[in-house]
């Protein structure tokens, strides 16, 4: 028990002394002459003899008054203490393992918030009674159970010790959702302790029953931090260098000057300083910095030369990789538009004469293993009876996908709208596309319509097993000569978009840089059945790829750094090896100043932070006052009945 105003207790001897002095002052009694007092004296004697408390009689009133006075002084001293609420109830610990918990302001000697959290949680576990049960739930941007509800302290301790901090951002909603699933519908709700710095993302809409006792153990003290909150790499064309953008946030109250160093990791494990810049970042602002390099390939580490409490966001990783030329095969009996447009695309691989590889439709063999070498096959006015695995761009005919039907030619087709956000339609103006005729395809529900006309889909994305196709229902050679779309700048852009989309070039660039906690989507060559992922820490895991998967999704990216992925076929042979970099890059995580209160929904009052995992300190002055009042009433009763005592 602690006292907020302990001075009143120090004054207790003076008050008690004054009371005792007052008590010894004789009561001024009214004098009354009676005929004789001897009967009165006998009556008093009778009462005294019959009283079981006659020894206490003289001092009982003084004792009661002293007790009441002490209790009132106790109430004035504002005692706060534990009423033992957590005893006998289940306890659930929500443990924040997001990146900001790596801040080194958790305690003395550079203890991190995470280490402090573990110590506080351990203290709470140690303080549980033998009948008390506890469960551990960890959360960052998602939540997962660490230990089920158990009264085994060793199990809880072991689970706590295995917990590691992550480089993920944090979000409270998943944790509360998991918590709600563990709260019984009947019986006493568990005591819930949230160990966090309060940087838990958006809380509006996160609701928790107001009857669930929630305690927020705040971890961390400082808020001054400078960190990298964004990294982007723009790769040049084939044979060109690259540019890297770095965004630096100054979350402190003062302007900061710091250095930004870029290191290249060498194959022998050492690093080489590539570039270094000095950067002035005003308080609360984000400052960008651009690095340009001739380097087209390599593992790059960006580091802030600045001391703060949160080192995890002072480093970022980027992967530079030369763009690979895309191999495109044109299956056509002759289409100059397509031929010229593809040959003008620097990313498309040409033969020694600068020509696009082309075969006649009659020479197309879907079972030819050579077709697997092409990133994309363009079928111009060619209705193949069967297609092998691969990516296709078709004009004027539908690919032989089940359910995708060709209803024949329709006239005077007008473009209605198109999905500008789709990678295939970006920066393309289909409004200039005039179509005297086009074929009418019936799209399946799983197909994605990219361009729609009044007669049906004009461009759609269709998939069947290991085949992916961008299907155009119009024939480029049937377009009117005057004002033809094939002469419009949109045409080569459309082809370039489709080539990069189907060839995977855009995805490859995006998949090189990922935020922590995100999911990497990687395209894989046909025949891939498994992928081995090596994390920055060296830990590996194997993922299976099933037939029908459109992409390999690598989740659980909790660690910043370089991830390596090896794709294997059924025989275990390596088909392709790829890499990507994961960065924290989160503005909310770099704002490390701990939050003083959690506001959950509209029904609950804000939950004030407490410094440690002690049960909440209850103000006890009301209880002391109530007991004092009861004592005063007892004293009054005794005073009126004291002839009995």
């Amino acid at each position: 028990m602690e006292f907020l105003v302990p001075g009143w207790l120090l004054a207790a001897p003076a008050f008690c002394g004054a009371l005792v002095i007052l008590y010894f002052l004789k009561l001024k009694r009214r004098e009354v002459v009676v005929s004789s007092t001897f009967l009165w004296q006998q009556a008093i004697q009778d009462l005294r003899v019959n009283s079981p408390f006659q020894r206490l009689r003289k001092n009982l009133l003084l004792f009661l008054q002293l007790l009441a006075l002490l209790l009132l002084l106790l109430a004035l001293a504002r005692p706060v203490g534990d009423l033992g609420e957590s005893r006998g109830a289940d306890t659930i610990l929500l443990l924040d393992v997001s990146a900001s918990m790596q801040s080194t302001d958790g305690g003395p000697d550079g203890q991190t918030r995470f280490e402090r959290m573990r110590a506080e949680a351990q203290r709470l576990i140690d303080g549980l009674g033998y009948e008390d049960r506890a469960a551990l739930i960890a959360f960052a941007d998602e939540s997962w159970p660490v230990s089920p509800l158990t009264n085994s302290r060793s199990t809880l301790t072991a689970a706590l010790n295995e917990l590691r901090p992550s480089d993920r951002p944090s979000a409270f909603a998943p944790a509360i959702q998991r918590l709600r699933s563990q709260i019984p519908t009947d019986g006493a709700p568990p005591q819930v302790y949230v160990f966090s710095d309060g940087r838990v993302g958006e809380l509006s809409g996160v609701e928790l029953d107001a009857e669930v006792p929630l305690h927020y153990v705040r971890l961390g003290e400082r808020g001054d931090n400078v960190g990298i909150v964004g990294v982007d790499v723009r790769l040049g064309g084939v044979g060109e260098g690259s540019r890297m953008f770095v965004s630096v946030l100054n979350a402190s109250d003062a302007d900061v000057s710091c250095g930004v160093d870029v290191y290249l990791e060498l194959p022998d494990g050492t690093e080489e300083l590539l570039d270094s810049r000095d950067l002035d970042v005003p308080a609360g602002q984000i400052a960008p910095v651009l690095f340009e390099s001739d380097l087209a390939e390599g593992h790059v580490r960006v580091e802030l030369d600045h001391e703060d409490a949160f080192p995890a966001d002072d480093v970022a990783y980027a992967l530079l990789r030369p763009q690979e030329a895309l191999r495109v095969l044109l299956v056509s009996d002759g289409n100059l538009f397509l031929q010229r447009a593809f040959e003008a695309d620097a990313l498309v691989l040409k033969d020694g004469r600068g020509l696009l590889p082309r075969i006649e439709p009659a020479a197309f063999d879907p079972d030819s293993p050579d077709l697997l070498n092409f990133d994309m096959i363009v079928l111009d006015r060619f209705a193949a009876e069967r297609l092998g695995p691969g990516n296709y761009l078709t004009f004027g005919r539908a690919p032989p996908f089940e359910g995708l039907e060709d209803k024949g030619l329709v006239n005077d087709v007008r473009v209605l709208d198109w999905d500008e956000t789709h990678d295939v339609a970006r920066f393309v103006n289909f409004a200039t596309l005039q179509l005297p005729t086009a074929r009418r395809f019936t799209a399946r529900p799983k197909d994605t319509e990219i361009v729609r006309s009044d007669k049906g889909p004009l461009v759609l994305l269709a998939q069947e097993e290991d085949k992916l196709a961008v299907v155009c229902s119009f024939d480029l050679l049937s377009l009117p000569v005057e004002g033809a779309w094939t002469f419009d700048p949109s045409f080569p852009i459309f082809l370039a978009n489709a080539t990069r989309y189907l060839g995977g070039a855009g995805q490859t660039r995006r998949s090189l840089l990922l935020p922590s906690g995100g999911v990497a989507e990687l395209r894989f060559p046909p025949g891939t059945v498994s992928a081995e992922v090596t994390e920055p820490s060296g830990a590996t895991r194997t993922l299976e790829i099933h037939s029908g998967d459109d992409a390999l999704r690598v989740a659980g990216l909790g660690e910043a750094g370089f991830y390596q992925v090896e794709l294997h076929d059924a025989d275990g042979a390596l088909l392709r090896a790829t890499e990507f970099a994961v960065n924290l890059s989160s503005q909310s995580e770099s704002q490390i100043a701990p939050v003083e209160e959690l506001r959950l929904g509209d029904e609950r009052d804000p939950i004030a932070a407490q410094a440690s995992a002690e049960p909440p300190q209850r103000d006890l002055w009301k209880w002391a006052t109530l007991v004092a009042l009861a004592l005063i009433m007892l004293e009054w009763w005794v005073y009126n009945r004291r002839v009995y005592l």
Binding site: L27, R29, R30, E31, V32, V33, V34, S35, S36, T37, F38, L39, W40, Q41, Q42, A43, I44, D46, L47, N640, R641, R642, V643, Y644
Partner: protein, 310 residues
């Protein structure tokens, strides 16, 4: 009795509030035909109107006794001597006058209550004295507190009433009570047997036993009349008080509550019951009178009921 509206608790020294005059003409007229009665046959000094145990020369035969030398030969019963050959002396009832001793407690405790106990006792003494005097009894009056203060020699005849009244009116309450010493002294000074009417509140810390025993031992016909005020029977006291005993200035500090009042009443009832029982065991008569009861009714109704007057 409840406290008065103004919270008055003090009922001591209320004698001055009483109207003057001890006996009224109405009272004298009412009790004119009453007479004092003794349950015992008592001897008197002169031949009177009461039968005496003293065998004398009256005409009413009482008994025989053997002759002893020196006896008056005139009272020898010769008929017995002739028949039984024994000398027997004839004893006759001798009629004598009745001695009535009226003893008044004048201690300070009697000056209490409303109506005042002392004035009430004075009136009782005066009334009983009047009844005794008009019936030719010898009436003696004594007042006592810590000792026998004053006494009036037994007189008879209506003409002595004014002496008694004046004697009473000259008496003032005060001093401590000592029943034992006072009664012993009175018994010694008045050896003639008779009716002793002791009027007191019997509030004597040393007790009343010896006092009554002195009279009983002298074969007096003792009548104890205990006079109490309503304020003693049901005290209107409450709260934190300092009770003062007027006789010895003893101060008792107490907080009067309902339980204490009940304990007081229990103790008072015990005190009255013990006195009553003590008197009955010793052939004395006893009566408690509240000063609320008009003293005329006490004499005419209650004392007649108890056989003191007829």
């Amino acid at each position: 009795m409840k406290p008065t509206a103004d919270g008055e608790l003090d009922f001591a020294g209320t004698l001055a509030e009483e109207p003057p005059g001890l006996l009224s003409q109405d009272f004298l007229a009412k009790v004119g035909r009453l007479d004092l009665v003794s349950r015992k046959i008592l001897q008197g000094r002169v031949k009177g109107e009461k039968r005496s145990k003293k065998r004398g020369r009256s005409v009413e035969f009482a008994d025989h006794r053997p002759y002893a030398p020196g006896d008056d030969l005139r009272f020898l019963d010769w008929n017995i001597f002739a028949r039984l050959d024994q000398l027997m002396i004839k004893l006759f009832m001798e009629e004598e006058d009745l001695h009535v001793y009226l003893l008044l407690d004048t201690s300070a405790s009697m000056d209490y209550g409303r109506p005042n106990k002392f004035r009430y006792a004075q009136k009782l003494i005066a009334g009983l004295a009047y009844i005794g005097l008009v019936n030719m009894n010898r009436v003696g009056v004594g007042t006592f507190s810590s000792a026998l203060d004053r006494s009036l020699r037994p007189e008879r005849g209506r003409r002595n009433l004014h002496k008694v009244v004046r004697f009473l009116e000259e008496t003032t309450p005060g001093g401590r009570t000592d029943l034992s010493a006072s009664c012993r002294r009175f018994a010694l000074e008045h050896p003639r047997r008779g009716v002793v009417i002791l009027i007191s509140d019997f509030m004597d810390r040393k007790g009343y036993d010896e006092a009554i025993r002195y009279f009983v031992a002298r074969r007096m016909d003792v009548f104890c009349l205990q006079v109490l005020s309503p304020q003693e029977l049901d005290p209107p006291l409450v709260g934190d008080l300092k009770l003062i005993d007027p006789e010895d200035d003893d101060a008792t500090e107490l907080t009067i509550s309902r339980p204490l009042l009940e304990a007081y009443k229990r103790r008072l009832n015990t005190h009255l019951a013990q006195l009553r029982e003590f008197c009955h065991k010793r052939g004395a008569r006893y009566l408690t009178a509240s000063t609320e009861l008009p003293f005329e009714r006490l004499i005419v109704d209650h004392l007649r009921l108890h056989g003191l007057v007829r």
